[in-house]
Amino acid sequence: MTLFKAENLAINFGGVKAVDGVNFEIKQGECFTIIGPNGAGKTTIFNLISRIYDSTEGTMTFDGQDITKVPPHAIASLGIARTFQNIELFEHASVLQNLLVGRHCHSRTGMFSELLFLPSVRQAEVAHREKVEDIIDFLDLQHYRDSMIMNLPYGVRKVVELGRALCTEPKLILLDEPSSGLNVEETQDMSFWIDDIKKDLGITVLMVEHDMGLVSEVSDEVLVLNYGRMLAHGSPQEVQNDPEVIKAYLGEQE
């Protein structure tokens, strides 16, 4: 079953065609990876899906619904969550508060009942907290629950950001370079978690990644971009042996 589909997706910044006629389909429950050299338009595709950018052309369908014109804050409640390449956490808040913001798209309390902190608000808070605790257990973050983000090392922040995205209970999670800046051991942990997200939580994963070891370990399908265009598409092995891909990364042999 197709969960997400991009048809003829394109965006121009002035004369630069950052993404140019990209087509792909993500099946329910798979791990789909986008790779490509720097500036290929990988993160731009993420920003298109999370509706930070307006596409110049093409359509995106998610779960049977056209999301090409949905406002950016509505994306989370549809079931798409994301992480960022350079960690966008709320620095002056604790890990717990960050994860609770991830529950924002599920909160239904009005501002006036919050000002009075009515029993309904308290109940909702406890219910959110229970969901958050599940994610804390899943990612082994118990130790950091009350730490401020600004005091945490880079590797932990990366995990917290993943946790915040999981707290929205997404159907599709977008991971922008989940292993960047992590050491070998942390990358290994990350690959286990991505596998668990896919298999245990049943969440479809779309990721951008440079570490080919991680890519071939966890992905089912790989899309290669170069200068905003599709270069190749297939299983990790197929893509790695594709002469066009080798040319894009390593150049041509004399």
Partner: protein, 369 residues
């Protein structure tokens, strides 16, 4: 050191996190409630003034400290609240189908004053939502100038520069807007505003505000409607400041547009920064600072050489100097220093200076849009 053993999620939601809160804040409450029975009239007046400024400070803190939207125009909301209160409780306003002009009791007039200011907040909030940082500050600054001008020119309502007398409020025979009764009114309002703010900050809307402050882009992808939450923050902040204005009107007893100038806005901003940005404690500490400093300077003048003490502009100079020093050496203001002192005694004798060393800020995503 106190170690908290948590067994219930409600422990993190509760306002009083542990028994120490009951002791320290209970003692503080006891002192402020007993104060008017022991102090002279002058000091009661000063404390009342402190509570009013603190209410306005909490209002701006919610906007500048928690939502990250710096406003240079809060004197405008302060003024709108004050004038609304004065007009409603004073001459009375003519209503259709009613013979006599209607004079409102403060139960109605104060909420109305706050709501008027909140509506003004929404009115300015919606058009300037797309602005951030310095641009937002300039837009709100312009708004404050407009309001100041309206207050001085709309003479049929505000009496312009000749000023507007504010009627005292009575409950039975007791004058409510003077001495201890007014003290308790202001104290009650401050406690109410603080309670509402604390409630908001431990709920989804409050967290959304902090999320916007720290990273708009990721707040948005977590489902926070930026325009909606920013408008709410603006309305709430303006409403609270308007309420402070309404109380201020009775404190002064006489309103003129000169009381609501840009200097008032700046003073509120100094309050927020020096008190400690991003904490409600900071709003209180800041209010104490803003009120105590001019008095402290006046006392200090007696001990300075005449040539320095009589130099014109020495007071704004010292005011500015302290602001600069605070921003450089104590970015989290008086409350930040308070936390350090508290930790020093909690950890004694193993306090480490490094605990509060500013950590490395990792690179943020390139500006989107």
């Amino acid at each position: 050191m106190r170690f908290l053993f948590k067994t219930d999620y409600n422990q993190d939601i509760r306002i009083a996190k542990h028994s120490g809160y009951y002791w320290s804040y209970g003692l503080l409450l006891l002192i402020v409630f007993a104060a008017p029975f022991f102090l002279e009239g002058y000091y009661i007046g000063q404390l009342t003034q402190l509570y009013i400024v603190a209410i306005a400070g909490v209002g701006l803190m919610l906007l500048a400290g928690y939502t990250g939207l710096v406003s240079l125009g809060h004197a405008a909301f302060f003024g709108i609240g004050a004038y609304t209160e004065a007009v409603l409780t004073g001459n009375g306003i003519p209503l259709p189908f009613v013979e006599e002009p209607v004079v409102f009791s403060f139960f109605i007039s104060m909420p109305v004053a706050a709501i008027f200011a909140a509506l003004a907040g929404v009115a300015i909030g919606i058009p300037v939502l797309r602005l951030t940082g310095i641009y937002l500050a300039i837009a709100t600054f312009a708004f404050a100038l407009v309001i100041e001008e309206i207050l001085s020119r709309w003479e049929s309502v505000t009496n312009g520069y000749s000023g507007l007398l504010v009627e005292s409020l009575y409950v039975g025979d007791m004058e409510l807007t003077d001495g201890p009764p007014f003290y308790f009114l202001c104290l009650g309002m401050l406690l109410l505003v603080l309670l509402f703010s604390i409630n908001l900050l431990r709920s989804p809307t409050g967290r959304a505000m902090m999320a916007i402050r720290d990273s708009e882009i990721s707040a948005q992808s977590m489902g926070v409607n930026l325009a909606q939450v920013k408008t709410k923050a603006f309305a709430l902040s303006a409403g609270i400041t308007g309420l402070a204005g309404a109380l201020f009107a009775h404190k002064l007893g006489f309103l003129s547009p000169e009381s609501f100038t840009i200097f008032q806005s700046l003073e509120l901003l100094v309050l927020v920064v020096v008190g400690g940005i991003g904490s409600l404690h900071g709003a209180i500490f800041g209010a104490i600072f803003v009120l105590a400093l001019p008095q402290g300077l006046a006392i200090m003048k007696d001990y300075l050489p005449v040539t320095i003490a009589e130099t014109p502009g020495i007071e704004p100079f010292i005011f500015g100097l302290i602001l600069v020093l605070v921003i450089i050496f104590e970015p989290y203001g008086i409350y930040g220093r308070w936390l350090k002192i508290k930790l020093y005694f909690q950890m004694f004798p193993v306090y480490k200076k490094a605990t509060f060393k500013r950590q490395k800020a990792y690179m943020k995503s390139e500006r989107l849009k």
